[in-house]
Symmetry: C2
Subunit: 294 residues, 2 copies
């Protein structure tokens, strides 16, 4: 066996992303030892039984002791408190990272707790499923998916290069950008679509003239895709919207303005306006399919 990239990796949080990272690291031989922490005893036991980690710890400080890579795989809202908890046990030269869908807020919450000599390299793997928990993970989750790194300026280049190699060997394509730009991009390609999906599924559930049974029965008409997105983990998404508030509200403003225009066109029977809008959106789809082929 060649020398692994890290001696000991600590996964703090063993849900869908944490467990998938464990599997992906085992597959690629990226760590000599993987330690894990989860708040729930049941999760810890399941994780150990499945085997994507080598040891579990009730206390996150024990999990991170001696680790040269620590990844916070928890909802964005508790990253700050966890950083504070483990701060005293981080060894010099270690890398601390996370997997949150929001980056500016995570940096603001975590960075003050990271001791000098420890590298903080926030990450956002754009991968997920509608399922949660340690049994939902699989090694291929990150394959061909983007992972965005948003290291603050002046971050050690060697540490960044190591995290690029880490995510590449987990199967992902890696891109580096500023946290601020990341949050805008994520707001439109991920956060707003999720909000809209959560919203429309809720709307359908509230109607008086149409039963839930009918909505479920006839969901194939376009609604089904929204329900998959709207079945994502509620805690994770609550924290996303609380922590990327400004960017999401900005995108919502654009969305509402555009929707008001389409609504006016429907109300006025303006077929030309509708046709022009519906034609314009096709080329983006074409771009995505071309991208996937390449």
């Amino acid at each position: 066996m060649t020398k692994p990239l890290f001696e000991k990796v600590a996964l703090i949080g063993l849900g869908l992303i944490g467990s998938s990272l464990g599997h992906a690291m085992k597959r690629a031989g990226l760590a000599r030892h993987i330690s894990g922490h989860a708040r729930s005893k049941e999760t810890r036991q399941q994780a150990l039984a499945i085997g994507f980690i080598d040891t579990v710890h009730e206390d996150p400080r024990q999990a991170v002791a001696g680790a040269d890579l620590i990844i916070l795989c928890v909802p964005v809202g508790i990253c700050g408190a966890l950083s504070e908890t483990i701060a005293g046990d981080l060894q010099k030269g270690a890398i601390v990272s996370d997997v949150g869908s929001v980056k500016s807020a995570v940096i603001k919450a975590c960075a003050p707790h990271i001791p000098p000599g420890v590298h903080f390299i926030p990450a956002h793997p754009m991968a997920g499923t509608e399922f949660s928990g340690p049994q939902a993970g699989f090694a291929e989750l990150f394959n061909q998916k983007w992972c965005m790194l948003t290291p603050p300026e002046d971050t050690d280049e060697t540490a960044i290069a190591k995290m690029v190699e880490f995510w590449t060997k987990c199967g992902a394509k890696v891109e580096t950008m500023s946290a601020q730009h990341h949050d805008l991009v994520a707001a439109i390609v991920s956060h707003l679509p999720h909000l809209i999906a959560f919203n429309i599924v809720g709307t359908a559930d509230d109607l008086e003239d149409i039963t839930e049974r009918e909505v479920i029965k006839y969901a194939a008409g376009g609604f089904r895709d929204f329900t998959r997105i709207a079945a994502s983990d509620p805690t994770m998404w609550r924290d996303v919207f609380l922590n990327n508030r400004e960017a999401v509200l900005t995108m919502l403003e654009h969305f509402n303005k555009d929707l008001a225009q389409l609504t006016t066109a429907i109300r006025d029977g303006d077929g030309d306006e509708l046709f022009a809008h519906f034609t314009r959106t096709r080329h983006i789809r074409k771009g995505i399919l071309d991208e996937e082929k390449s």
Copy 2:
């Protein structure tokens, strides 16, 4: 060969739905002869070359002459004019049907032109892809999909039964309901989701700080599902929104009211409200998955 269900079926319109119906009828041996009409010469030639019809006709009246089943597979907006064109050539006892996503408006536009002794049984197969044209069709399109029939009251029961058998043999599950109720159900499970998808893809295309290239590159974050829906045929969807205006506007009102609530929760940092909403929408997804397993 057992006696086919129909002697001659005329497909008026040879796009995705018309061509798929041709393939499905051939597969199940539902017609002794299938005639077709399309406005464009290229479409007619392609359809004949592919072979899902037996004859093509530039004049829709020639296509329907002698047919015992005529199916209008055209955008909702031209069903009325086409009915008027072919009215004089419909033989007594024939069934006229359509495949439009809107039913009340189609009935209002077509029914006045249907001669006495001809049965009018509107239909809406809830099936489609993002692709259009005679080459997009395939026999399996309707398999396990719902087809809604909305026959006006007093429609001949034998003719209805024949159309139930027709669609069942094309692979679909058939349900009968009033046109008015259909239009409400379609508005929430299909029309509103499409409008929202068209809208959000348009919004993403307009942003100043984020390039189209980035939107395409990172689309996997949830946005991708919307682009598939928003790549649907513009003419068809223009006509849907023009012809199911009231129901769509009603659903949009509900949607906007709900979205305003979610927006307020984000602005106020009300995590409990967000969590409660995101939890509530999960059971609908569960219902859909259970339905598909059954």
